[in-house]
Structure formats: structure tokens, C-alpha cells
Symmetry: C2
């Protein structure tokens, strides 16, 4: 995606990035922040919603009665009617989804990017930005910005906005990015990874920073906090070791994030991501629809609401919503700095008979076929919902013997509860790899890295591929 230029309707042309200053060095690789203020949308609804939550969740924008609409509760005192007028919809809005577009736009000024368009459904608001995307859930905000944007500069303001709604604690933080192509063009605190980590460590407790992949090749940076009652650093407070926070069963939803980050894209394939006015092609939103159709990128998922943008002279962005999930694509097609990213939190097994690993293979093929990258990186972040022990029990019950008791350590489950001692075999299996998606080989590519991280509540699978000669 490339911000310079204006579309034919003249809606967008930020002066600071207009074409005359363009150096041919656009930083496609995005900074990606997830700020979670609560473990789930449901927990925010419970905190701020009415006594009978189920009716509110089932309220439909089409044909909802006034009573149903009244459950659209806003903790900062905005009335239901105001929210309806503000968003021109009747979706039930809690937590961060009660924040007006204007407030987010002001916050995004700190990042140096603008809102191009907003789409939404019952569960999530999707903002297409001049530099990438933002998704707003009741309990979390996902902000992804490319170029020389200063994403982290907005962290204090986002925390302030959430606190004003009553979301005064931060449950988890994830910040990640690929290694920059042009690090010298970045602005503070994004000039280097240690600076970014120092910034985040200034705000959050028990944060862990990682360099994933080859430090002398393509790599990916990750900062995350373990789930905590509140991971915000409070001045003067002594930092304690983190304890896995105990949450209600129904507050926990499975969470997955898949990213496919591609470079050295095929120049021929990139022609589709240039605006062609000579062929009477529209740009902006209508041009985006055009690109969605000719590339197939708009139909990766069924029953999906998409919002896309074709930039002038080139570049493409897409946000898609599928119920409570999103996918987002950003393309910088210029050969000197070609880059495309695909990201989604749609469950891999959703609407598919394939295993998660094979569904991932299919998705990778669908996406890489469009861009034909010289190199790409896959990251799969998934919450652990099944231990290897449970998996073995389910698939190979005969292999779990409980007769031999050699090592019988106490077992702590995900929610911190101690249970009966386990047998040697159980213990061995229990401590083995938790649920993990396998990143298979990709035809025509050589897998040069495969790394698995086990975090509190999450697994991260990382793989890097290079096109075979």
C-alpha cells in the first residue's frame, strides 16, 4: 500500500507524503499492535452490559426492536440514540466500540495516518487507513500501520481513551513487525528494536521481546506480555513475577492470528496493483473492488464484507469482515521495495473439512499464487486449547497408561488450578508440544527456518521460505 497521490475523487492526498517527495523507498512492512483491555468481548459485555446479556448478543441490526437496541450500553454516558446516530447502525456496542470515529481519527494523527473508510458488522469495526488498517472490538484494538508512521506514539492515547470508558486495565499486549527494509527512514521510537522495546517496557510489566528468525537475514520482531490482571506499569510499584490470571471458562475464546509477509514480488503479477487510468480503471474504492475481482483477493472467504482501496499511482489495501473475524491485505507493488502482507484472525479450520495444517497450506497457496514472492514469512499465533496429552488421549487412547508412576509432579492447568498427580506417561505427554499448527512445505519454495515458541496461553509457529532457483 502506498499513501501518496490522490484518488480521482480527490478524497485523500496527505501533503506530507505527496508524490513529489517519494523516494522509491516505501516501507511496506507494517508495525502491528494488539492492545487487549479484557480477555474477551463477552467479559466487557458482562462488565458494562445489561443483566440479561443473551438477548443483547442476539440483537440484529435488521428488525431489532427498540427494547433490543436499548441494550447498546455505553459506559461513558453516551446514550443509545447517540451511538446509533454516530455509527448509523443499531449494533450492540460496548467498550471500545462506543468510541466515535472522530476520537480515533484524532488518535491516528499521533501515528501520522488517516481513516479512508469504515465498515462494520455486529461484532467489529474495520477502519481502512491511509497506511494500513485498524480493527476495533469491544475488548481490544488491532492497529497496523506501514511506512514511517509512528504507531507506538499512540499507545498512551489509546490507553487514555480506554480508561475513559472504564477499561482501566490492560490484559495483554502484542507488538510485532518484520525487519524494516529502510530502517534509517523510521522515526522515533521506531528507529530500532531496542528503542521500541524500551518504549513498551516503560508502559507494560513483564513484557518479553524476541527476535524471531535469522538475525543476519529476514527476521521478525515480537513483544508480548503474559496475560495479567493488569499489565500496565504503575509508577513506584515493584514488578513481581507474572502469574497466569484465572479467567472464567466462557470468557476465553480461541484466538488465532496468521500472517503471510511477502517480499520480492513478481513484477508481472504486480501490474494488477497499479492504477490504470488509460484503461478507464477507477481508483480508490471502486478501483479496489476491481482489484479484488481480478486477483480473487476479495473472495478468499465466503460471506465476507470487504472494503478495499486502489491507490494512485499504485498500491492496494483491503479489509474484510467475516462475523467476528477479519482479514487484511496491503500491497506495495513497486519493484524497488515490493511487499505484500496478508493477515487474518479467521480460525484455520473455519468452514473447512481440512485439518488446520492443511487449511493453512491451502491458504498459503491461495495468497502466494497472487503475489509469487521471492521470499515469504509465515507466522501463526494460536491460543492453546488442547494439550498434546488431550490430543493423544483423543486419538490414541490406548497409548495413555496410568499404571506406571515414576514421576508424579502436580499438574497446573491453563487456569492455574492444581489437579491430581499425573503418571509418568501422562506427565511426559502433558509437557510435550501443545496444540500446534504444522507449516508444511510449499511447492517451489525452500523452507529455511522453522521455529516454535510456547508462550503463556499461545503458541507461535514461524517459518521462512525462499523461492527455489
Amino acid at each position: 500500500m502506498k499513501p501518496e497521490g490522490s484518488n480521482s475523487a480527490g478524497e485523500f492526498q496527505p501533503a506530507s507524503t505527496s508524490e513529489e517527495y517519494y523516494t522509491g523507498q516505501f516501507e511496506g512492512p507494517e508495525k502491528l499492535l494488539e492492545l487487549w483491555f479484557s480477555p474477551s468481548a463477552n467479559s466487557v459485555r458482562k462488565q458494562f452490559g445489561p443483566a440479561s446479556p443473551d438477548s443483547s448478543l442476539s440483537s440484529s441490526p435488521n428488525g431489532s426492536s427498540l427494547d433490543e437496541r436499548q441494550v447498546c450500553y455505553s459506559p461513558n454516558g453516551t446514550s443509545v440514540i447517540d451511538l446509533e446516530r454516530e455509527f448509523n447502525d443499531t449494533y450492540p456496542r460496548y467498550g471500545l466500540r462506543t468510541v466515535s470515529r472522530k476520537v480515533w481519527e484524532d488518535m491516528l494523527e499521533l501515528v501520522h495516518c488517516q481513516v479512508l473508510n469504515l465498515i462494520k458488522n455486529e461484532q467489529v469495526d474495520s477502519y481502512l487507513l491511509s497506511e494500513s488498517s485498524m480493527f476495533v472490538y469491544p475488548h481490544k484494538l488491532i492497529l497496523k500501520t506501514c511506512g514511517t508512521t509512528t504507531l507506538l506514539a499512540a499507545v498512551p492515547r489509546i490507553i487514555e481513551i480506554a480508561a475513559s470508558l472504564g477499561l482501566e486495565k490492560v490484559w495483554r499486549v502484542f507488538y510485532s513487525r518484520k525487519s524494516f527494509m529502510f530502517p534509517d527512514l523510521q522515526k522515533a521510537p521506531h528507529r530500532n528494536w531496542p528503542d521500541e522495546v524500551a518504549f513498551l517496557d516503560g508502559w507494560f510489566k513483564n513484557g518479553a521481546a524476541y527476535t524471531v528468525g535469522k538475525t543476519n537475514g529476514d527476521h521478525w520482531f515480537l513483544y508480548l506480555t503474559p496475560p495479567q490482571e493488569n499489565c500496565l506499569k504503575i509508577e513506584g510499584e515493584i514488578e513481581e513475577e507474572s502469574h497466569q490470571h484465572v479467567v472464567d471458562d466462557d470468557d476465553e475464546a480461541e484466538d488465532v492470528t496468521v500472517e503471510i509477509l511477502m517480499t520480492e514480488l513478481c513484477p508481472k503479477a504486480m501490474e494488477k496493483f497499479y492504477h490504470h487510468p488509460e484503461e478507464d480503471q477507477p481508483d480508490a474504492g471502486p478501483g479496489g473492488k476491481d482489484v479484488e475481482r481480478i486477483t480473487g483477493l476479495g473472495s478468499i472467504y465466503d460471506n465476507c464484507l470487504t472494503d478495499s482501496f486502489l491507490f494512485t499511482p499504485c498500491g492496494f489495501s483491503l479489509n474484510g469482515l467475516i462475523e467476528s473475524n477479519y482479514y487484511t491485505i496491503h500491497v506495495t507493488p513497486e519493484q524497488s521495495c515490493s511487499y505484500a502482507s496478508f493477515e487474518t484472525n479467521v480460525s484455520l479450520s473455519k468452514g473447512s473439512d481440512l485439518t488446520e495444517s492443511l487449511a493453512l497450506s491451502k491458504l498459503i497457496k491461495q495468497v502466494t499464487d497472487v503475489f509469487q514472492p521471492g521470499k515469504f514469512t509465515i507466522t501463526v499465533f494460536n491460543s492453546q486449547t488442547e494439550t498434546h496429552f488431550e490430543n493423544i488421549q483423543r486419538h490414541h487412547p490406548e497409548s495413555v497408561h496410568t499404571s506406571s508412576h515414576v514421576y508424579t509432579p502436580y499438574h497446573h492447568d491453563r487456569r492455574g488450578n492444581q489437579s491430581r498427580p499425573r503418571s509418568k506417561v501422562e506427565h511426559e505427554l502433558e509437557s510435550s508440544q501443545p496444540k500446534s499448527v504444522t507449516i508444511h512445505d510449499v511447492k517451489g519454495y525452500r523452507k529455511t527456518d522453522r521455529i516454535l515458541y510456547e508462550f503463556d496461553g499461545y503458541n507461535l509457529n514461524f517459518a521462512h521460505f525462499v523461492k527455489r532457483n
Copy 2:
């Protein structure tokens, strides 16, 4: 281990590190280099040995006939008798094991450390150094040095020595170290990780560098090359992508390296690693034997030849040989910079009925009980000798169906041979985790990181533990 001071016999007191200059900041964490000039000792024997190798391998130092001793072949023209005189033994010596102690001592001057003692057996020479250890096999050299030694400065000389023997190619390189406690005290090229990587990249092709673990906490650096016909960089040569080199079955031996790197050691437990002349305790070698006995560190393995050293005023080093394997321990007991390392290439399952994972747990307990560290890191490097597919086939043959053929990619085995297409299920299993040791929980400690890397021919398991309050 601490180099300053002299033992009672006055054998060792390097002027540059004598006690008067000691700052209380000794860098215990070692630099560790493995340079492999051939895939196995056997391949070196085949290259340089006599026509009938078996008799040579079975030649015994005790009671070997002159004929048997004559198979002790040295490619650089040193006669059998010279080698016998040089090493005062009749072990069959090939490749690097024909290099005299004097040549290694001169090489070690570049590193700024000295040889304290040499022990050996039929398969390996073990040098105890003023700063850690060196192990010499026919086909590889393992050099581990602590403090402000300049290990990498010796790389060109080691390559030169090997080439003079006819070992002109480098098969693999591993270089690793824990993050330094006092990085500012290090000398070039060890001032920082990027400098070390740049140095290694100057010598070797297709090297991959990793930062393993938290970049804002305890971490570990690793550089390694994939196995290559020759990973030495030749000037003017265009760097190609590496191809897994095909080697004979019997040239491949399973390889494992386990490291336990401990900090914040228990001060009370550290008293055993101080020299106590007031109790008429000897230091140097006899003092080392004393420490071996009172700590149990000399009897971790059965049938083991050990060589140890108690430094004055404190510090301890130990090398142990068990057939073709070694273990080595180095202790810096001072509270201001306490550190202890344990390293071995003894197979985890050797002489044990336990699984490798449980044997690892037992080993970790044995070692950490001696030092009672506040924090420690485990790294387990093991060559892949069994795919998950083979494992599943062996343990759960009923689960491997070959009837469904959805994805049938060609399968390349470890030696680069293409075999028949695999079924969907086979493919899925085949691509899953290869043989991997599980690092279990450790009582009294919190596991804060668990990372698995899959490299060409090797798995690396990394875990970090912090003592519970």
C-alpha cells in the same frame, strides 16, 4: 572458573589476569565454537586411514602389537613413532588428533588462554584450559573459552592447521554464547553479536544467526551453517543456496549437545568452589579432585575419566571423558558475577532406562541441585534421527492410513533422496515435529521460555527457568 591467582605449585599465573587487576566482574559465560571438518571421525579415518580400518579402530593402548600401532596414520608425514612419543600413548590418531599440543598451545595464544592439562582416550583429547576447555576429535574441534578471551581470533589459524593435515574443507560450524554479563569488557570481535556474526559471515557460507530467548532478558546467541560439502567462503565465489549434502549412512553418528547455563548461584553452595588453604585443602588438580568428590560432580557419569582444577582463590573447571563423549563444567562462584556451566555430548539415553526427556530431567536436577541457581537456561541440540512420522508408525501403527491421497508431495529424506509420493496423512505426520526432547518442568522453578528450532539435520530445544519466590 576464574583464571587469576596461582595454585600452590605455581604452575599457572597469567600476568594479564593476575589478582591485583581483578575487578570483581568476571565473565563466566563462555564462547563456544564447534568446527567440523568432516561429518564423522569415521569419514576422516576412511580418508586418511589404512585399507583395513576395523583392526585400527579396535587397537587398544594396552597390549597393542607394533603392527596395530602402525595404523596410527598421520597425513602430515609425522611417523607413528613420533605421535606415540608426542602423546605418550598408542591410540590410533587421525586428522586433528595428530596435531601436537605445542601447535594447539600456539593457536590458543591468539585466544589468550593456556593449557592446564591434557587427558585423552582412544577417541578424543581433552584439554583443560586456563579459561575453560577444548576437545579434539579426528574430525572436529570444540573450543569453549570464558572471560575476555578472543576465541574467534583463532578461527583462521584452526582452519590453517586443519588444511595442513589435508582437512581443507569445513563441513559445519556452530558458534554460540549466552548474553554477556559485562559486554563492555569484551575485546573485538566479541564486543557485540552483530560483530561476531560479521566475522563468521566473512569466513563461512550460508551461516544463520539467531538470538534465542528474550532480547530484553536472558538470551543465547547461535550461529550455525547447514551441512555443506564445504562451507568455507572462497573469494570471488558466488554464494549459492545450500543443498543438504548427501553422506554415507555409516558416516553419520547421532550428535547431541546439552548445556545448562546457570546464574545467581546460591552463595552457601558456592563455598565448595573456593580454595580453603586454612583447612589444608590443596588447589589445582588435587583440589579439583576434592571438589569433584564433595560436590558429586565427578561422578555424574559411570566409567568416566575426569580432569579438574580448583583455582585460587576460587573457581573450578572439570573435563570428563566417557568413551567418545565428554562433559565439562566451569564455575565462577563469586556472588557479584556467579555463573556455572554444564555441557555434554553424552547421549541422554546412554546407560539409562529412562526416555531422553526424563533422563534430561534427572540430569538437570543433578546439576542444579549442586548450584541452586536463581536462573538457568537449557539448550538441547540434537541431530534428527527419527521423524515424527516414523515415531507415530512405531508407536501407533494403526493411525497411519495410506488410503487417502489428497496431498502427495514428493518426499525428500535426510540424505536428499526422493522417494515415492506420500499420502495426505503421511505427509502431515512427516512434516510434523521431528524427534525432539521435551524439557519438562523443574520443581521450584518457573519455565519462562520454551522455544524449538528446526535446522537442517538438527533440532534445538531452548528453555529458561526462574526460581519461584
